[in-house]
């Protein structure tokens, strides 16, 4: 009976300020979907880092004038190095073949390069790609070594761009979240004001605090749950239309966003949204309905 009363009061309250309720839900949708998008991007960047860093290599380019003894010296050093996972020796011929394959769309460029002009190199995969500096320190100065290049540095630029997009959406989510909070506080105040007579009588006859406050808090939680479900729908639409649709060509590079991660956003957004709005509503009532 009490639960029924509280729920009925909640629905009446939401309906009485229906424009405010809609405004509250819309700001929640926007802020929660931005939050969801940036969380997804964070998980995505993490996954991509893992994926690419496993494939990432350090290239040790060798001088053209390198002696066989120097080369085998470097090779044995690499083979016994605990940091190194495996080593591939790319000869001049292999480098040229790779180059031809890579730039097959630009025959002029291929023709401009002679078959023995490309440097030979060791392609070194590391157990921990972050230990590039140690590799660089050990091998850069050895006789016969031209330069040591870390492919990770190239990837870092892509990750930096993704990171700044993620930060931007977090900032937007923050601002919209603040707007949503203020709207929640405002809606609850209006709801409490429109029921001030009932609240005064309830306090007078000794209704418990939770019983007075529950319908208002539930209004905010209900709006947050609805907002988070719609925000999740926005993320699903975003995945289907944008990531899997228009940007499908890029997913070779960017890795597809998994359904598991998208679905994980529903409980996360619903949880964050409802807890934050419940606390906001409760704090608002603390100031508004004094015992």
């Amino acid at each position: 009976m009490r639960a029924k009363y509280v729920l009925a009061e909640m629905l009446v309250g939401l309906w009485r300020n229906v424009t405010m309720t809609i405004a509250m839900i819309i700001t929640m949708i926007v802020s929660l979907s931005m939050l969801g998008a940036s969380l997804l991007m964070y998980m995505q960047v993490d996954e991509m880092k893992g994926h690419y860093y496993e494939q990432v290599e350090v290239s040790i380019y060798l001088e053209k004038s390198i002696q066989d003894a120097e080369r085998s010296d470097i090779k044995s050093k690499l083979d016994s190095d605990p940091l190194v996972k495996n080593v591939l020796w790319e000869t001049k011929e292999m480098a040229y073949e790779n180059f031809k394959a890579q730039f097959r769309d630009a025959p002029d460029l291929v023709n401009a390069i002679g078959a023995d002009e490309l440097p030979e190199s060791f392609r070194v995969a590391l157990h921990d790609p972050k230990k590039f500096d140690q590799i660089n320190a050990t091998y850069a100065g050895l006789p016969g070594v031209d330069t040591v290049v870390d492919q990770q540095k190239l990837l870092q630029k892509i990750f930096d761009i993704l990171g700044s997009i993620q930060n931007l959406s977090l900032v937007v989510a923050g601002f919209m979240g603040l707007a949503a909070l203020l709207l929640v506080a405002n809606t609850i105040q209006v709801a409490a004001y429109s029921k001030r007579r009932e609240v005064a009588v309830m306090k007078l006859v000794g209704a418990s605090n939770w019983f007075i406050q529950a319908p208002f808090v539930l209004e905010a939680v209900f709006a947050a749950l609805l907002g988070s479900i719609l925000a999740w729908v926005m993320l699903v639409v975003g995945k289907v239309v944008l990531i899997d649709g228009k940007l499908a060509a890029l997913t070779d590079l960017l890795l597809p966003v998994s359904w598991g991660n998208v679905n994980l956003m529903l409980p996360i957004l619903a949880g964050i949204g409802s807890v934050v709005s419940a606390v906001t509503a409760w704090v608002t009532l603390r100031f508004y309905i004094r015992v």
């Binding site: 009976m1 007579r197 009588v201 007078l204 006859v205 000794g206 209704a207 418990s208 019983f211 015992v291």
Partner: protein, 220 residues
């Protein structure tokens, strides 16, 4: 017990000490601003004293934890000058509301509410809205709401302030009847007519101090 409101130059109640026995009928009288209404607020724990204690039903409420206040208030009924009825609810619903919000079931309300409405003399008018009732009838609804929970104490803050003399007398008869069931009645008023007719204990307050406490007093 002393109560000073913030920003007030002198205390509203200055070192006042009074004790009311169970089953008493007490009038607090005095001019406006004398501090008599503060007594009702103190007994309801709407305000706290700056110094001293307020003991109601054997419990010291001046130091009571705030979460215990709702259940404490269930033992006190309250009637005000402005009735404080909910305009969108009928007489029955107004009284039932007071039961529902403290967790009583609809079945209890169906049994108890008609009974108490009959007691206050509103039998047959259960389904009228407040605007369809006269001032005296509205105050009867308010008394029914205050009494439906069988409180130990009934606080009445100028209950006849908005009523004509004849209606006031009827409300007083009702309060007297409630008092005879064993309920302590504490009434704040400046209606000399009523005080003189009832001949009950009168405590007069002036400038925050008790100037008279008389067992079968008149308005003076």
């Amino acid at each position: 017990m002393t109560k000073t409101y913030p920003k007030a130059s002198r205390p509203s109640l200055d070192d006042v000490s009074v004790s009311i026995e169970k089953g008493d009928f007490v009038f607090f009288i005095g001019p406006s601003g004398s501090g008599k209404s503060s007594i009702v607020k103190l007994m309801l724990h709407e305000i706290k004293p700056n110094k001293g204690k307020v003991i109601v039903n054997g419990k010291e409420i001046s130091s009571m934890r705030s979460w215990k206040i709702p259940s404490f208030r269930r033992s006190i009924g309250c009637v005000f000058q402005d009735f404080r009825l909910l305009p969108n609810k009928t007489a029955y619903e107004n009284v039932a509301f007071a039961l529902e919000v403290i967790g009583k079931s609809k079945a209890v309300a169906r049994r108890v509410v008609p009974e108490v409405l009959e007691l206050v003399g509103l039998g047959g008018k259960e389904h009228r809205y407040p605007h369809e009732l006269s001032g005296g009838e509205q105050q009867r609804v308010a008394v029914a709401r205050a009494f439906v929970n069988r409180p130990l104490i009934l606080l009445a803050d100028e209950p006849t302030g908005n009523l004509d003399p004849d209606t006031s007398i009827e409300i007083m008869r009702l309060l007297d009847r409630i008092n005879r069931t064993g309920t302590t009645v504490v009434m704040v008023t400046h209606d000399s007519n009523i005080v003189n007719q009832m001949r009950r204990r009168v405590i007069e307050i002036e400038g925050g101090r008790i100037v008279r406490d008389q067992a079968r007093g008149v308005y003076g």
